[in-house]
Symmetry: C2
Subunit: 618 residues, 2 copies
């Protein structure tokens, strides 16, 4: 068992794949942590806007939260329909590809890629920030801790999605049960009411409320992940995925509602070193063990929210690769049946973001909301088109719901871009078109390749050709390698020519043309020898000139047979000149020249040639 297997586990058979597929509850750990953990910062973002209009404005937290919950349920409903309609996964991308055409689907894909990549960096640094607030002593190693968490999440996902879901299930459950229980306790416990209730509400301008609403929309990011990752679920896939989607919607709605009510009940306001969620928790249960356990679970869930991207992006990139927008290698499953290249690229991109920002990714938060909400808007719009085409029973109601969702999320997207443009949203506006250009460039290349290869079409018939002319580059000094090369060459064709490049001798021990000819005559193989004197101190150039200048019979091809000594250690590679490799690379650029490599090993036992005439070929 090598180190790779030790870290990643043994290769999985296709029939063991079920082991790595997930159920509804595991789906929460695998694909919902991004959405659930946003309860730790979404409501706070609303309150931070409201508080600028005075403490009384905090009363608007409840109606805004209700509006947010309404949008949440609209999105959950919409994505349930997406799961039914596009069970192959890909979510917003699949919807827009099917309904909105190539160009829009490329936009959707680019938005999702930005969203997923930023999610990893942001959630890990948010989790580590929560940790370093609790333990300031580890603050200096914040970036290092971020990278270790990233490495752990990456490794778990390389082992398989199921593995990571099961590993992250416990903190997820502690988070959900703990936070909901704590909220219930806050309502039921009479001693917990606030000493100083909030001042009465005063009217505020509508645009102000819209801004607060838009700020709170970050709490909805991640709702799309389940629809993107349907193929990760065990059969019946669609049912399990929808159950997870509704479970997520219900829990998140409860949490948002509870948090809004308790904030008002305890007259908690945002600001200071402590988060608003933390203040509410302290007001409900005090600074006891329960508080610490739930706080720790929140920290872990924030960091593990990165897992959502690892569930979504590799799958999305495999779909994009199949559509020819990303290199095909992204569609190849590894030994553990995961799309490993997508995982590596995502992890590397997140590591770059973390290092570049020094582990402080606050500034990135508005950027990633833009990606998410662009995806929301496009998938909802796509669903409206979908219903228009399909027209199942109640299609008008469904289309209406999706249309409403599209409108709401579209407005929110515009609000983000406008209000956050100078804060860095322009980066997204630059990166998304660049990604689209890349998708198109890759697709154009594959289209050109397809035009040459014509895959799927029955190829032209294969006809007989004469045996090729074989060129065997040899060293002027004959050796077992020469014998081996000619032995192999003669088994392929009878038209063989050996070529030696002769440099000017530098000492008496160096071979001369006469000595090379003499040695050849002594050996007497049934092969013609060409000796080329090199004017330059180069072996490759005259060899290529010779090969290019060969006259062959009609339809006869050329084959260059390169004997190669294969050392038994990597150090050994340094001790052989790489002329064979260089020659092969140069020939690879030529059309219609075959290259044959004859490896010879240091530990190879000497196998004598068979006696002449024993079933000799051709």
């Amino acid at each position: 068992m090598d180190i790779g297997q030790l870290l990643l586990g043994r290769p999985l058979r296709r029939r063991d794949a079920g082991h790595e597929e997930i159920g509804s509850t595991e789906g929460l750990a695998a694909l919902s942590l991004d959405a659930l953990s946003s309860v730790a910062y979404g409501p706070e973002a609303i309150a931070l806007v409201l508080i600028t209009a005075g403490l009384g404005a905090m009363h608007y937290l409840l109606p805004i939260s209700l509006a947010l919950i309404g949008l949440l349920l609209l999105l959950v409903l919409s994505y349930s329909q997406v799961i039914d309609a596009y069970p192959a996964g890909g979510g917003a991308y699949a919807v827009s590809r099917a309904n909105l055409g190539k160009n829009v689907s490329q936009l959707t894909a680019a938005a999702l890629v930005v969203d997923y990549t930023l999610t990893v960096a942001i959630s890990i640094s948010a989790g580590v920030e929560a940790l370093t607030s609790a333990f300031p002593a580890v603050q200096p190693w914040a970036l290092e801790i971020c990278l270790v968490v990233l490495a752990i999440v990456t490794l778990m996902n390389l082992r398989g999605v199921g593995e990571s879901a099961r590993a992250f299930l416990l903190p997820t459950l502690v988070f959900i049960v703990g936070l909901l229980g704590l909220m219930a306790w806050g309502f039921l416990h009479p001693a917990a009411a606030a000493a100083h209730p909030l001042a009465a509400a005063k009217p505020v301008p509508l645009f102000f409320l819209l801004t607060a609403f838009a700020a709170g929309c970050t709490a909805l990011t991640g709702v799309e992940a389940i629809a993107n990752g349907v193929p990760l679920f065990r059969e019946p896939r669609q049912l399990r995925a929808k159950r997870t989607e509704w479970l997520l919607g219900g829990i998140l709605a409860l949490m948002l509602l509870g948090l809004a009510l308790l904030t008002i009940r305890f007259a908690v306001s945002p600001g200071g070193a402590q988060t608003m969620l933390s203040k509410v928790m302290v007001a409900a249960v005090g600074h006891g063990a329960v508080y610490y356990v739930v706080a720790l679970a929140i920290t872990m869930v924030l960091a593990l929210a990165a897992n959502t991207s690892f569930g979504g992006l590799p799958l999305l990139s495999s779909i994009l690769a199949r559509d020819g927008y990303l290199p095909h290698v992204f569609a190849m499953r590894g030994d553990r049946l995961v799309f490993a290249p997508g995982i590596y690229v995502l992890s590397a991109a997140a590591a770059v973001l973390l290092v570049a920002s020094g582990g402080n990714t606050q500034a990135l938060i508005p950027l990633f909301a833009i990606g998410v909400f662009t995806g929301f808007t496009l998938s909802q719009t796509g669903m409206v088109v979908h219903w228009w085409h399909e027209r199942p029973p109640h299609w008008a109601v469904r289309a209406g719901l999706n249309g409403l969702g599209a409108l709401a999320t579209g407005v929110a997207t515009l609000l983000f871009v406008v209000t956050k443009f100078t804060e860095g949203a322009w980066v997204v506006v630059v990166i998304i078109p660049l990604l689209i250009l890349m998708f198109r460039g890759i697709r154009r290349y594959y289209d050109r390749v397809g035009a040459v290869l014509m895959p799927g079409r029955t190829p032209a018939p294969v006809n007989a050709r004469p045996r090729p002319m074989i060129v065997v580059p040899i060293e002027p000094r004959l050796s077992e390698l020469t014998r081996r090369a000619l032995d192999h060459a003669l088994s392929l064709s009878d038209d063989v020519v050996a070529v030696a490049i002769l440099l000017d001798p530098e000492s008496d021990a160096d071979p001369t043309e006469a000595s090379v000819r003499q040695a050849w005559t002594d050996w007497a193989p049934p092969v013609r020898l060409e000796i080329i004197r090199s004017e330059y101190h180069s072996v490759i150039r005259p060899m290529l000139q010779f090969i290019d200048g060969l006259t062959t019979k009609a339809h006869q091809r050329r084959l260059v047979l390169i004997p190669e000594f294969v050392p038994d250690s990597p150090y050994g590679e340094l001790l052989h000149n790489q002329i064979g490799t260089l020659l092969a690379a140069a020939l690879r650029r030529r059309t219609d020249v075959m290259i044959a490599l004859v490896p010879m090993h240091l530990h190879q036992e000497y196998v004598p040639s068979p006696a002449a005439g024993v079933d000799g070929g051709a």
Copy 2:
């Protein structure tokens, strides 16, 4: 003309090689700057020891300089004899290889490698130090300037030794003529005598004088370089090389003598920011233009002393490579006929030393003297053995001279090791054995390879073999690439099997076993098709299992023919999965499997197969 040719010049023909060979005067610039420039620090090193016994002890500078000049002439004489006896170059290494056996010659080689490498770093940093003393403003960029000088010297040497010698000729001549002329002026000009002559000499202990002598021996480093580089000279090589050797000896002796006499005449003492040589120059000609021109030439010559190593080490390493102590690539000449790998490695090692020491290599000076004097001692000893074996006329006198030299340099080497051990000489004592271990490891490897290849021996006869069984890995979806592969395979043998690895289909568009068989039947090539269903999500593993499990006819070999799509840009490489490359790499580790690569280009014009039967092969 590409960027490489722009920097390095066009490739040279062997018959143009004379262009890059050097004459006697150019030899001074190419191989003597190390020795000549040491006049800038050698006498100062003596004076720094003497001054500790009072100003009166400075009178001993003259006898010690005379002793040094005696040793110098002994060395010059000895190396002239080396040039005659070993005109192929290699100097001390060639002498000890011929006379002192393998083990001692490895020690000599290691000492020379250490010497040459340290010389580059030390001389460049010494030159730049002289420059930064003159212009303190550039002090902060000392390391960067060092690296730029290193890059220039490296580039000049990659263009060819002759090129660098001609480029460095002018500063060399200014240095020699300027410094000798300045000294002559110092003697002839009556006003220049010292106002306060030195106090009378007092007796000092012998060991003290020996230490001063040993310190001055650094002035002799570099005397060996000409004998190491004989092949760099134009014909008649030996004559020109000897002429350069004597020219160097005469000039260096004159400079050492003149400096000693003038130091005493002007009562100059070492210490302070100014070097002793600079004080003598000021005393002789004042702070005028002459002073500045000569000082600049000294600075340049100090830095260009690095050139000596570039003349010597690549040639030495080519000899070591021919002897199997270094990778063979070191014996290969590049387009410009220089031993480029040796130049690169020397330059890289010097850059590492410069960066590691921050451009301050003072501490390395004693280290490199050890390497040089070990070489001196061993070559002199070897010459004694040489004379003993050859016994030409006057051999006893010659052997006596060399024996005396061996004794003197041997004592100096021991003095270095003992007095400088704690100052870092232990590093040399560690590195030299490590280098010897490396030489031996490489030689052992080449001996093993030689036992397998038996180069130079007439190989066993080549006998006929049956045509190989050809395995063509194909993609389940037929394409032009498949046709091309089979077309090539059938021109090599009639025993062809196509193998497709089938993974579980992930979508309806993926090929199934039935669809692959059907497409094959529709196409109907004269080739058997094997479909392997992969349990794991891997293509390489089942392919290797299949190839390993093939049953062949007696003496029949297997050939795996891998069709490869060659993109027209480096980006294109990223867009193709590298399965062919991975498979070829895995097969290379196997014995007795040939690998044939069939490249196909994106811009390849479609060449239809010839009609069946047109001079079909076999």
